[in-house]
């Protein structure tokens, strides 16, 4: 198959997966909450008017539609413009960054939402489980071991490639970058495990599930990032650069898929958001 055609197919798939399928699933989840857990019965779930949240959801949807348009325009531009292919992966990378913007917005919105919840929370009673939390309470030792082994393999791989004196090869800077990613994700995990309570009404069990989901996601992404870094070096070493843009796009598919793990709504305890005297919408 023609490499260009393959690139268009993979890029189209990236557009539809990250800017249509992913947001659609997110919006279905949000609207299911609006429908099944309305403000009258679950006032603590809505520190602000539901209209405001519906507007934010609509904005999220519109942003994604615009990004789909931009992506389709990009494919068309790739098709009509004579290219050498050298910049394709850079363009795809920045397009992915744009695709990620609505989700960053959603994340910021969630932070504001939890802040509003905390401001309205008048509950004088605070509860905690008198038990230390450990990483192995949330993820299996085998997953932690896999992350560690892949990191060691990566360091070994860099040491091996470093022998060949490739002019383009960054050497141990690769180890530094990947170690930085491990450290950064480690900090996020630490904050999730021991940091301040974000949602003041959430049950301890639900919080545990949230932490578990986040840690599993981040560890899986770390594995993907490390493997991808090795794949990129191999592609360059074997002169398969025409596949680079395709590999970048496939990698973003994986990242999107790994970020799409959310706890099932049926398993969340929504009773904690029911009304209590003194707490009004």
């Amino acid at each position: 198959m023609n490499i260009d055609l393959l690139l268009y197919i993979v890029l189209f798939s990236q557009i539809m997966f990250l800017s249509y399928y992913y947001p659609r699933r997110m919006l279905i989840r949000i609207h299911t909450i609006f429908k099944n857990y309305p403000p009258n019965d679950f006032p603590k779930l809505y520190p602000e008017s539901i209209k405001k949240y519906k507007k934010s959801a609509k904005r999220y949807q519109i942003m994604n539609h615009l990004i789909i348009g931009l992506g389709l325009g990009l494919i068309l531009w790739f098709y009509v413009t004579p290219r050498t292919g050298g910049w394709d992966q850079v363009i795809i990378f920045w397009y992915f960054m744009i695709q990620f913007l609505p989700n960053i917005g959603l994340e910021l919105w969630t932070m504001k939402y939890h802040n509003a919840m905390r401001l309205l929370n008048q509950d004088a009673q605070k509860e905690a489980v008198l038990q230390p939390r450990r990483l192995t309470d949330f993820v299996s030792k085998s997953l932690l071991g896999t992350v560690f082994v892949i990191y060691v393999i990566f360091v070994g791989f860099i040491a091996y490639v470093d022998q060949f004196d490739y002019t383009w090869f960054g050497g141990y800077l690769n180890v530094l970058i990947i170690s930085g990613a491990y450290l950064f994700f480690g900090l996020i995990i630490y904050r999730a495990m021991y940091g301040k309570v974000k949602n003041p009404h959430q049950s301890y069990e639900d919080r545990k599930i949230d932490i578990q989901t986040l840690i599993r996601q981040l560890l899986s992404i770390l594995i993907a990032v490390t493997l991808y870094a090795m794949v990129q070096i191999l592609i360059k070493a074997y002169g398969l650069e025409s596949f680079k843009a395709i590999s970048v796009s496939l990698y973003f598919h994986v990242i999107g898929f790994l970020s799409m793990q959310w706890p099932h709504l049926d398993f969340i305890n929504f009773d904690v958001y029911k009304n209590k005297p003194g707490l009004t919408k």
Binding site: K126, L130, P132, M193, Y194, K196, Y204
Partner: protein, 124 residues
């Protein structure tokens, strides 16, 4: 085991924390050697100041109800059950009352006792 703190109660927060840990030890809910969460974790979970939890842990450690072993963290002391039944405030009050009584019997005035007590406390 769950711990509950009520910010509306007049009882200081660190005391609520201490009392519940002691009660759990006496009732057998916390066995000797059982691990406790770190100060940071507990303070954040209960939305309390870290110093409040640190104070409760410090007093419990002084009373040998809990013990801290470096990186291993904090756990319940092996003699926690018998130490939890000792109320340090009551013990201090009893001992001081006895001392003041004996000083009064030997002819010291209340003013002299207060000055001497204050001087001794300053020297410590």
């Amino acid at each position: 085991m769950r711990i509950k703190i009520d910010t509306n109660l007049s009882t200081p927060l660190f005391k609520q924390l201490m009392d519940q840990i002691k009660k759990a030890v006496v009732n057998g809910l916390l066995k000797p050697g059982a691990s406790l969460p770190s100060i940071r974790q507990l303070a954040n979970d209960l939305e309390l100041n870290h110093n409040t939890v640190a104070k409760a842990y410090r007093i419990l450690e002084r009373d040998s109800v809990i013990q801290t072993k470096g990186y291993r963290g904090t756990s319940i002391h092996i003699d926690a059950k018998q130490n939890s039944s000792v109320n340090m405030n009551d013990s201090i009050t009893t001992k001081l009352s006895e001392t003041i009584k004996s000083l009064r019997e030997s002819g010291a005035t209340d003013s002299e006792i207060r000055i001497a007590f204050s001087n001794v406390m300053k020297k410590q």
